[in-house]
Symmetry: none
Amino acid sequence: MTSKTVLIVDDESAIREMIAVALEMADYRVLEADNAQTAHAMIVDDQPDLLLLDWMMPGTSGIELARRLKREETTAELPIILLTAKSEEDNKILGLEAGADDYITKPFSPRELVARLKAVLRRTTPRGIEDAVEIEGLLLDPASHRVSAHGQSLEIGPTEYRLLQFFMTHQERAYTRGQLLDQVWGGNVYVEERTVDVHIRRLRKALGEPHQHLIQTVRGTGYRFSARL
Amino acid sequence: MTSKTVLIVDDESAIREMIAVALEMADYRVLEADNAQTAHAMIVDDQPDLLLLDWMMPGTSGIELARRLKREETTAELPIILLTAKSEEDNKILGLEAGADDYITKPFSPRELVARLKAVLRRTTPRGIEDAVEIEGLLLDPASHRVSAHGQSLEIGPTEYRLLQFFMTHQERAYTRGQLLDQVWGGNVYVEERTVDVHIRRLRKALGEPHQHLIQTVRGTGYRFSARL
DNA sequence: GCCGCTTGTCACAAGCTTGTCATATAGAGA
DNA sequence: TCTCTATATGACAAGCTTGTGACAAGCGGC
């Protein structure tokens, strides 16, 4: 299994360190940030799979960041676990309202943390990362990181794989080249929009004749993945 | 699409000019300021959509201005891209802490600038999630950017799509060709009014026999979209 | 350091769209 | 019915947008 990336946001480096160690032992990739701004940048750039967010921080607070992330389309799906020293019910409510998926009060044991984190990930990644997606005989299996058409496995490059995975988990919806760049390439990469075209072509080629029609051009807009004609 | 306004703040007029040209070519509206004070006034008055801010300036520095803007509620949401001659990591951190959304080091190519600017705008402009509209089996779904009649998707060009979308969201009301031009083509475009006729025809053709009657001619005035006879 | 694979760009080819015209039709009023 | 005016249509050339093949730089493994 490809290991997940977790971004820890907390202003106290000791706490970050403690958590990081625990997560690394549990085989997660770990990123750290000590304030909301940096965190936001890292989220856009590195696209972590989960956010461990401290509730109280100088500057933009955790809640504030959570709200902002939920508002933006590209980050709205990112699961968030709030960390807080206060155990009051009020905060819990506020946190969940802000879009947090779970909530842990300090102090907590590394074991508890990892357990909750697993639970949230299990809950929030119903498809794509874990489960294989299949459509019209085209199968993408994240576990083996392989794509096959009617059992016959296909030759496909890394970028095309990511592109296909994104498409298969976001069907029936048109995306602009810019959005695809954000979602598949990651945030602050500076790439020509037309590059998307080239990868679309490579993907189409890799899929072969029988599945070409799944990747549809939406003239004047971008592309769409759809089983419908 | 209405073009976005970008405010460039830099004390060197040569740099401002260079950037302004690049942005204008990319179809942005450009404002310029050579110091933080003027910039602040322009932000309040003209409400630009994005700020390109030089980091080092005489008087109030870029960072300082950024901090100030983030503190004020009315301007906190304004996306900021910092420009700087220094490529040190320190500044990047400082900049992001001050609330910048991205960061470009001089020298940079106009293309890179425009690309980043687009990315930031895309990220910060909350994507309006419009709902699908349906009438008499005719369905227009903005998400998938598709029009279908009783499940069967229709072949339709970009302009006809926009025209239909406008009509479906503004039913039971007659519009003159001029109004349609304004609404669908966008304000400052000079096209022959008769052109609307042609697109109406194309739209009718695309809709096919069963839905023709929805697009009605209002003699002496213009057109109307209506389910009523 | 060399080799092979992946990527991002370009330049050019193809394919669609679009705004206009010229011409055919259809309405309205006399 | 006839006439005048407003619309509908079919055809087109220019302008854009997208598809392609080739290529060079970047990266990782040997």
